[in-house]
């Protein structure tokens, strides 16, 4: 063994991260370090701060509904509101809380009950009420753990999504997936640890930003890798036209040999790390197309997700890829469905959005279940906040809009150590305030980390003299959500 490699093994975990964090010349990425250690060392805790506990889940599939879906029209069943159509939202409920600049000037806040029918589906408690917009999801109600009492601090999309992804409303912190990549390392040598897919929505789309899957102050190897539906699935994956795979191998052999000499000449361990990374890139050129080629999926599987599953870029196809990524050990798989920002014409737009995600999500859960993957895969479905019970703009029996509502909304989790077929938390009769068991975004993060075997207070990274966490100085594990 080369003396440097020997020394690499002697690095303590603490020192290693100090090196990586300080951006020191010979900074070693975790993957780089893993390469130095050889494949067998990958699972070794040397490379990562975690896990701290025995993990229940090995990975996360995070379905982010960008734009914030209406909890009132999907999952937070309020039959009593029918009687209150067009009544003014009582001040006792509204409590003078801040509103966005879009409705703060509204003369009235007329109650807009959901126009959609709800159905009761059996679960492990007293049943789950799910709107007619999500019939397929109703079929898997026994897997879902609803949290009806989510709340957030942000009132607008940018800070709201930033908060959900990074635990802070302002740009600058690492995203959840980056924390996980840092905390647990990779479980697949040929694919990125953190993969993001985006589906263009059918309604009012808000902006996404690279920061939502950025690594903030963590080394950039932890940033999310966007899997694209057009062009190269991973940026720059494909060789230029006229370059065949054998050519790349030939070139890599040349570079590898020359670099090996350079390593001997300089005694710089980074050189060998770079050789290893190039080899991994070469393997990725195979493994990613293999991942995205769904032609081998049988009809039974496609039927689970619906006909769009073979159409690249659709949410159904992303869900199918999410399963394929999960199978391959990718740690954090994040799907963004854009277009839930329904300030006006909500009934029409939410129908389209819900139809695009309902069957694919249910299909994903069933597919994971039948392949034995659901128990080790933590699935989260959420928007960045909820929507108001009062109508923004015109209210008629069949048309209304809803503004942003951070005070309460519904998310659900499934799989990976989550208590299935349950609901947690309650909102008032207007789905406006939480009356029972509020769950903060930091609590959700802490709980999810717990299931992944990470103690949210111990998953820290020192930056500018302070130990940062995903949960900042907040967060508590919500034991009621755990199986």
């Amino acid at each position: 063994m080369h003396p440097f490699e020997q020394r690499g093994l002697d690095l303590t975990r603490r020192r290693f991260f100090r090196l990586a964090g300080a951006g020191f010349g010979a900074a070693l990425g975790t993957t780089a370090l893993a390469s130095i250690f050889g494949e067998s060392a990958r699972a070794d805790t040397i490379a990562t701060p975690g896990p701290h506990f025995r993990p229940k889940a090995k990975r996360v599939i995070y379905l982010h509904m960008e734009g914030a879906p209406s909890q009132i029209d999907l999952f937070d069943y309020k039959p009593g509101l029918r009687e209150r159509f067009d009544e003014d939202l009582p001040d006792s409920i509204r409590q003078g809380q801040r509103l966005t600049g879009m409705t703060s000037g509204q003369a009235r806040f007329p109650v807009a009950p959901s126009m959609f029918k709800f159905t009761r589906y059996e679960n492990n408690q007293d049943g789950a009420w799910i709107s007619e917009l999500m019939p397929h999801l109703g079929g898997v109600a026994g897997e879902l753990c609803f949290v009806h009492s989510m709340r957030t601090e942000a009132i607008n999309h940018e800070p709201g999504i930033t908060f959900f992804q990074t635990g802070n409303q302002q740009p600058g912190r690492p995203s959840f997936g980056s924390w996980m990549s840092y905390g647990l390392g990779s479980a697949n040598a040929n694919l990125p640890t953190f993969v993001v897919m985006i589906t263009q929505g059918l309604g009012n789309m808000q902006a996404l930003s690279a920061r939502f899957w950025g690594s903030g102050f963590l080394p950039s190897e932890h940033q999310g890798c966007k899997l694209r539906s057009a062009g190269d699935p991973v940026l720059f994956l494909g060789d230029p036209k006229g370059v065949a795979r054998a050519d790349r191998r030939e070139m890599l052999d040349l570079v590898g040999e020359m670099n090996e000499r350079e390593a001997e000449r300089t005694l710089d361990p980074e050189v060998r790390a770079r050789i290893a990374q190039a080899e991994m890139a070469y393997r990725m050129q195979m493994s990613v197309p293999d991942l995205t080629d769904v032609s081998g999926e049988d009809d039974e599987t496609i039927d689970l997700y619906g006909p769009d599953a073979r159409k690249p870029g659709t949410f159904a196809s992303s869900c199918l890829l999410a399963r394929r990524l999960a199978e391959r050990g990718v740690r954090f798989i994040q799907l963004y469905m854009r277009g839930w920002d329904q300030h006006g014409e909500l009934p029409k737009e939410i129908r389209l959005q819900a139809a695009a995600v309902d069957q694919p999500i249910a299909g994903l859960l069933k597919d994971l279940r039948r392949r034995g993957l659901l128990d080790e895969t933590l699935v989260l479905w959420s928007g960045e906040f909820g929507r108001t019970v009062y109508s923004q703009g015109t209210l008629t029996a069949t048309n209304y809009g809803r503004d942003h509502h951070p005070r309460c909304f519904t998310t659900w989790l499934a799989g990976g150590g989550i208590r299935p077929g349950t609901a947690y938390g309650k909102t008032d009769d207007y789905s406006y305030n939480i009356v029972e068991n509020p769950v903060e975004v930091h609590d959700l993060h802490a709980t999810m980390l717990r299931l992944l075997g990470l103690d949210h207070t111990k998953l820290t990274y020192r930056h500018q003299g302070r130990d940062y966490r995903l949960t900042d100085v907040f967060g508590r594990v919500v034991p009621e959500l755990l199986a």
Partner: protein, 1203 residues
Amino acid sequence: MALRPSLLAAAALSFAGALATSPGTPEPLRYDRDVRAILSDRCFRCHGPDAGKRQAELRLDVAESATALRDGKWAIVPGDPEQSELLRRVSSTDEDVRMPPPKSGRRPLSDEERDIVRRWIAEGARYEPHWSFVAPVRPPVPAVKEAAWAQNPVDRFIRAKLEAEGVAPSPEAEPETLIRRLFLDLTGLPPTPEESDAFLADLRAPDAIGDDVWSRWVEKLLGDEPYRSRYAERMATPWLDAARYADTCGIHMDAGRQMWLWRDWVLAAYRDGMPFDQFLTEQLAGDLLPNATDAQRIASGFNRNHVTTDEGGAIAEEYLVEYAVDRAATTASVFLGLTMGCARCHDHKFDPIAQEEFYRFYSFFDSIEEPGLYAQSTDANRALEPFLDVPRPEQKTELDALHAKRDAEQHALDVPEPGEDAARESYFATVLADGGVEWPETKLVSAVSTGGATLTTQGDGSVLVSGPNPDQDEHVIALHTDAKGLRLLLLEALQDPSFYDGRVGRSDNGNAVLSSITAEAVSTVDPARTTPVHLVWAWADHEQPDGDFRAVNALDARDDLGWAVDAHRVPGGRVALFVADEPFGFEGGTELRVTLRYQSPYARHVLGRVRLSAGRIGAAGLERLPVATSAWYLVGPFPAESGHAAFETAFGPELPAADGVATRIDLSKNFGAGNQYWHFDETLADDKANGALPAGVNATYVGRRVFAPTARRAEAEVGTDDGFRLFVGGAEVAGKEVDRSLTTATDPVAFDLSTGENALVLKDANSGGQAGFIWAWKHRADELSGDLVGAILPVSARPPDLAARIVRGWRTAYSPAYRLRAERIAKLDADIAAVEALVPRTMVMKELAVPRETFVLQRGRYDHPDKARPVTRGVPAALGSLPDTFPKDRLGLAQWMTSPENPLVARVAVNRLWEQVFGTGVVRTSEDFGMQGEWPSHPELLDWLAVEFRESGWSVKRMLRLLVTSRTYRQSSRARPDVRERDPDDRWLSWFPRRRLAAEQIRDQALYTSGLLVESLGGASVKPYQPDGLWNEVAMVQSNTRAYVRGSGGDLWRRSLYTYWKRACPPPTLLTLDAPTREFCTIHRAQTNTPLQALALWNDEQLVEASRVLAERTLLRTGGDGEKLAVLFRRCTGRTPDASEIARLAETLAHFRRRYASARGDAYDLVRTGTAPLADGLDVAEVAAWTLVAGAILNLDESLSRS
């Protein structure tokens, strides 16, 4: 090696603190270096500076508290560890006693750490102030044994440490390695083989002295063009990271904004060797300098580089706080090396910065003339207010000339023609008489507010509003008149001293929005007889321009639209005129009840003093009134398969509104997925080329509401790019399918309007490229267009500015000489505007006239100011104070920062230079010099450099010269396994730290070695190659940075620091290679090593193109393969390859030659990557084979690194 005892002794004396002395007598511990880090990490959270979290009243960061008696115990008894409670607690195994407590999550002290604390207490527990908070004093330069080795004082400090550790420095690196190192470090680009040869030749010259040759090359790179400009470009890049410079806003729309003039200021500052104190002062406070120059004001944009929001629902106050926090935190990080942002929510946990002190510092930055929430704009080149126009010299000359011409025309225009006044008076008299305009007396009867405001009738017939000012209100005003046949209703909004600044509105800024006006006539004789008065036409003397706030919006009952009077911007009275569709007034007298509704989203925007009157107008008079219109709205684009399909397909907006009322434009209707609503567009106007409709094959609709005082035939002229169809009231009245560009209004159209509201929709069908339209009404000869409507108002009702405008209106209509001049002026104005649109502009700092009051924000929340804790501007007490003689503003702050008493600024700045050259700072945590920061590897060196920097006039070039001429810098970069055991991170610098190039340098090197690089200092940002669709995937549909339009020609090959930086989607290859997103201040970049980097380096189009052009360049040389390979290799790595390396390269070359000779199609595909033209006369298979070899060489670790 023979030691010289005298020198060794001297070194020991001057280095008592830092040198390890002989074994057996351990050097005394220092609190600052050895102890504080332990206490800070484990104890200060609860026993430190943060008063809010402090437990048991105990502070371990100050001696007085730590050594005080409490509950019969002392935390620390100096000299007596056994009596010290601190030691007992950190040593205890009892979980209830042990510190830090298990639930704190902090680790217990290790044995080693405990031993340090014990020893320190035993040695007397001497506290020291934190080293970086004490102003540096120049320490003596240490003597070293090998004095001849030391080239300058830097070497003596480094060598002294090495000698103390018993380590010899590394030998000097090879000359070829050295010159590449120097070129990359100072200019960011490698030397060409010719430059390397010149350097080698200089060294080999008969009487050459190596050190002198080296110094000459250093001078050349710092001082001579083109190196000097390259040096500026190299130095600017880390500064742009620190200053979070980018080309977009970062949030929501992530809209484009112009800041590159600031970036160019940075470039010029580095190129011209601006002293650092000036560099600091102008960036912090350039706008506050006496007689600030444009350049100084541009520099102040440093603190405008932060992200900003234009998200519709955002709360302005919240973002004003975020902007000021960012400025304070960035300023503290960049110049003071302090993480001051930590004290936003509570006292700093580790550093002596109280929360209140944070807000004192913050208040330097929170009084800027800026909105918290920026308006969305389609102009990707705009600069966010406050900004500065900076015309280029030729633009300035042109503008001066245009203004001079305009002034002369204006002067001539202001002089009336002979006889003009009389002609005008006679015209007005005729208008009134022929038009049947009369204003019979009306009497104010009563006035009530339904919202609870107090309405008082005034002697002048007006109604004054006072008392409560509800968010929304409704005023019902009753008039009595004996007249009949009334058609006109006049509303005068009067000024009153009881309103803000004596304006007409009661809102906080004096503005008002009338959401609707309705009226009813009641017979005095028989109050049961009432008739509604339908108002169908409106005109006002002022209408707020930044939304659809026109007076016609008050005609209907809708509350979301209204007439906004623009009084927050323009003072003075207001007047509005309304026309009813039928005459009103009963025999025997009429009570006219007028309801003014203020129900718009703009709370409390009430007209505070209104006078109403009613008048008559005859049929002829009505005919002379022009049509009134709403603003233009836009919906679209609706993409189509072809221009014809765009023309043919009805996408919806042309159809009558759903409620069947054909006269409406339905603003609440969504015409398709993707949020297709009619929306106001303030750029659209009549009589001008609206040339920025969405590009592409599509249809876009513009529409407006048109109000006719009488049913009539209207005429207009239309021009479109390309075809158009015109719909009035849901029926098509004109159209033309044509392919053309927008020039003038060419197509006459005529159509019938009903009395009152009509919907007018113009569909613009575009077959590609930009779309646009022009709309020009054709006015009838006797029409009272524009301000001339004012001529029918009673003279007493005309505000002064309106009176003047009426005169102008008349002169425009009836004096040909005047009209000619006015047209010339309009043309000049257009010329001026056209030049101004191209004038570069940039965002700057600008203080509010009256600074905001600053309070401590509880938990840092914008909406929780602690009114009991107002703060004044100041700096944290631990760092000193602002002398009374300094102004209490950013300028004073800059003066304080650059004063000799400042402990941090010079240290932080030289440390960053050190980091740039040696990879790691003397203080490794270059962004944190606080208590959690790391102890310097060479404390005396840092202080020496800091003092040298300041005393030598803050010269950056001088400091760099010092570093790169040192022997330390010239060492070999071969790592040393023997030393590495003891100094794993090479902090002693016993070898030169090898380092991968920064992202920008990697791309620049590829462009430069291939000869593609287009060098030109500064200018607007450019858009080189980027994979398709990246911006689209993340941007909002409405964002003006949604489509990435690749530049052409030279824009593709500029240095990377000129690449357009969209924060939500930064340039992908640069980001992959560890460039930050520029959303916040980044002092140093982490360096990582990932497979995605390899993929980008292999396959990014611009790098493949560079390989190809590099291959061609190589092939065009004379010589054999070996020679060519050697030059190619040397161009990229700086090193001449040996024979075995050339053989290995040749082997691969031969392989690819065979491959492409038999697959010429593949060769063609490969060489056609990129847009750079193919070199003439080369065989494609040969180029393809060499392209892959060149690409491999560019990908060598040796090329990607600086050895």
